[in-house]
Symmetry: C2
Subunit: 115 residues, 2 copies
DNA sequence: TGACTGTTTAACTAATTAGTTAAACAATGA
DNA sequence: TCATTGTTTAACTAATTAGTTAAACAGTCA
């Protein structure tokens, strides 16, 4: 990562941007267990098909998911399992932070109890 | 990552959001080689101190960098080297994609040449 | 104290984008 | 063909945010 020009930096930022949205993370998480079509995802995640479709379109454009038409439904699947390595790494980081925050909060509560 | 509630998902999205900005990636990259104060970063990256300061503030709030006052300058450093594992992973992914795109482009050009 | 250097914040503008609604489009089957 | 089911897109609103400028704030030294 040391020597990166602006376009490379922009690509990396785009990559992160695609993952920086709760609903898109939910979509990716839902696809973990296998292919799903748009309607299934919409019902599963409790939102409109239009909304899901837009998120899927962005995820597909960024190469995270792949599109396949079967009958008159459109199925999406994870195109690159590497994102889960990434998400697991981040989950670990976020988990550590939340644990640290919880510990801090506990200390504050206990300190408050003492005075 | 399988079983995540909404707050956990939101934390992960926030984590990615902090990294989804070219200038912030540049700041983190600049801090790779050691501590820097706000003015140094501004000059190095060619933007205003106000702008850098805002990005640093966000990165600090998200726990990516740590703040330290020395004299009347404020030095920032990477707080958690784990982000570089993350960035290296993403760089690898993005690199693969760019290579694939370049190959595709080359094929298109060669196909065009043939007809 | 006051001048200075360095950093942060407030107020603002311009641009992006998640979500909604309704309309368009695609694929199947009668 | 038409009706039905499923998906995508267009147009819009509301909210967020990167960057700018100028003002406020903090730390050092005379």
């Amino acid at each position: 990562m040391e020597n990166l020009d602006d376009t490379a930096i922009a690509h990396i930022a785009n990559y992160f941007q695609a993952l920086a949205e709760p609903m898109r993370l939910k979509v990716l998480n839902a696809l973990r267990s296998g292919d799903r079509n748009v309607g299934e995802l919409a019902e599963l995640l409790g939102c409109t098909t239009a909304n899901i479709s837009k998120h899927l379109s962005l995820l597909a454009k960024s190469g995270f998911v792949a599109r396949e038409t079967r009958g008159n439904a459109v199925y999406y699947r994870i195109a690159d399992p590497a994102i889960f390595d990434l998400c697991n790494l981040v989950c670990g980081q976020v988990g550590k932070r939340l644990a640290a925050q919880a510990e801090m909060a506990a200390k504050l509560v206990s300190a408050q109890g003492k005075d």
